[in-house]
Amino acid sequence: MLAPVSEPTVAPPAAELPGFAGPEELGAALEGTGYLPDEGLATAAYLALVMHRPLFLEGEAGVGKTALAHALARVTDRPIYRLQCYEGLEASQALYDWDFGRQLLHLRAAEAAHATQDTEKLEASLYDRRFLLARPLLQALEDSPSVLLVDEVDRADDEFEAFLLEVLSDFTISIPELGTVRAVTPPLVVLTSNRTREVHDALKRRCLYHWLQHPEFDREVAILRRRLPQVTEQLAREVARATAKLRTLDLLKPPGIAESMDWATALHTLGARDLDPDLAARTLGAVLKYREDTERVQSMARGALFGG
């Protein structure tokens, strides 16, 4: 891997043809990978690709925010780099870090060879690209073009947002000891958030904003059929219907598409060809993740939930 490390020069990012004529074409390509976007999401992804703008996705847990980034990486045939955010995330874990162990070994070797006289030269050899450990953000810029997934950005703290802002506004990372790394083609950036915290406006302003919601019934059936070809059509339809019903019950955690997929898989594994009320009750753990929710649903008349 040759590092595209250069002196800070002003090089305009090479204009690259996105390869998709419009949102519909990108949407169709995404469907080819098994990700079924609606019109708004396809438009959002297309604009992100053409405008070189990060795509900021918000929505309930389990509606396919992370899956979109993976699907986009597949249709654009780019490598994907994922940065999982958490509180206290630092530059050394997100951008780059120096390999201190090897640096110290290098120093020792230089000392043994009595080459420590010229400190300037020694220092230059110490802060060489081979001692630099690239973390996801730097990897995404170096391995251009790529897809960069910044997952659950709301979990990071505001200090992290500040330097994310710097990277996302001009797609460069400056390393004091080495120079500036610039992406030849800006990566396609997907930021996801579960809204546990309000992300700063300055970051949002640089992004295209899209709110993802639970898919409609037909789309959910189509997704289940596509992702789980082994599941019968009958089971997929009934699981989608029951999940949609569960979402209207005002539960502590309404099930997302990820949960309905888990549920269909669980039922299929137990040999179900349709939504058998007994099996459904036994596999509720795949869709409901709170004791209160499970108790409420179990106390309801089974026919009301799982009947035709």
Partner: protein
């Protein structure tokens, strides 16, 4: 970044239309800053301008900043382009916040702000001490005006929690980057280990202020207290008002001037001096904000008299839920300051088992005490 000039449609009327639309949107309450409008033009350049669906999405993706903006955007889009929006984008319609033009912040004290006849109380030092302990519900407009100035002196200290972020320090674990840099100075010999350790971060404080009719005499003072708290820690403090519905007023509270902040909040609160549905509103808070993260590990301060219209089972269940998410739950009840007060209201009795600190909030002295409770919660 795409070059805006290259992507812009040359047609002037598109720009005019978009600018006009942005103006409509701002009237509807969406910020739609100029750089966002520019983004919309760039987005339109990449799409088909004559397709209403494309225009709808180009605007929605660039001009909106959060779920709250989406309903307003849809409404403004329908009005401005006077056509149907392409398709209903949200299945669950969120009740729209109805704005009222006037903010009856203090029923009964009209024109207290600019009354030239009001006697100046600032000279009476001993009166100030008395005022600090007076029940805010029984003050004259002039005394109340003076008390407002005292709120500016209130410095709410913040509760802290250990952070995962580290700072250079003389104690703690070894910081490899600084150690190597230091070793370089002595020709590669590690002579001294550099260290770093965790810092402390402010813990989130969430204030839920009851603005129902029964709390009306205290709502102004409580909101001023909330304003002081937000001013002290704008990032880690959240304020909601509760009544018949939940309203987030954190943004309004961030205004520097307390009177402007209160006026702005007043016009954002649709249910001022209405009834109370504590259980339902608390549930709305936990569903939309609390469980996602706002309440997690936070100090929750509920300011209410616990007057619940309906049954109290829902309130009790939501309080248990809140207690499990929060670091500490503080309940402020202004009536507790009265002698002989017993928490007899149904709502209060339902809530108390899940409350860590039960304090009064009826006078300036009580507010000062409250800051201490929050800090050490």
């Amino acid at each position: 970044m795409a070059d805006p000039d290259g992507a812009l449609p040359a047609r002037r009327d598109v720009v005019d239309t978009v600018l006009g639309f942005a103006r409509t949107l701002r009237h509807a309450g969406v910020t739609a800053s100029p750089d966002r409008v520019e983004s919309m033009l760039v987005a339109l350049g990449a799409l088909d301008v004559l397709d209403p669906g494309a225009v709808y999405w180009a605007g929605r993706l660039t001009l909106c900043a959060g779920p709250d903006d989406l309903d307003r955007y849809d409404a403004a889009f329908a009005v401005y382009f006077s056509g149907e929006r392409p398709r209903a984008p949200r299945a669950s319609g969120r009740p729209e916040v109805h704005l009222t033009t006037t903010a009856p912040l203090e029923p009964g004290s009209t024109g207290g702000d600019d009354d030239p006849e009001a006697p100046d109380l600032a000279v009476q030092a001993s009166a100030e001490e008395v005022l600090r302990h007076r029940d805010v519900a029984q003050l004259t407009p002039a005394e109340r005006e003076h008390l407002r100035r005292l709120f500016a002196l209130l410095a709410p200290a913040t509760p802290m929690r250990p952070s995962r972020r580290r700072r250079p320090s003389s104690q703690g674990s070894v910081h490899p980057a600084r150690t190597v840099r230091r070793a370089l100075r002595s020709g590669g010999e590690v002579t001294r280990l550099m260290r770093h350790r965790r810092q402390a971060r402010p813990r989130r404080v969430v204030l839920l202020v009851d603005v129902s009719g029964s709390m009306a005499p205290y709502a102004d003072a409580l909101l001023r207290f909330a304003h002081a708290a937000v001013r002290a820690r704008p990032v880690s403090t959240e304020v909601f008002t509760i009544g018949t519905r939940l309203t987030r007023v954190t943004r309004e509270m961030r205004l520097r001037d307390p009177d402007k902040a209160l006026a702005a909040s007043g016009s954002a609160i649709p249910d001022w001096s209405g009834g109370t549905r504590l259980g339902e509103v608390l549930k709305a808070f936990l569903d939309r904000w609390g469980q996602r993260g706002t309440a997690r590990g936070a100090v929750i301060v509920v300011c209410s008299d616990g007057w619940e219209r309906g049954g109290t089972e829902l309130l009790a269940a939501q309080m248990v839920r809140l207690r499990r998410l929060a670091h500490a739950v503080v309940w402020v009840n202004p009536h507790k300051g009265r002698s002989g007060y017993e928490p007899l209201t149904g709502g209060m009795q339902a809530a108390l088992p899940s409350v860590d600190h039960f304090v009064s909030g009826h006078s300036m002295a009580a507010f000062e005490e409250l800051t201490g409770v929050i800090q050490h919660a």
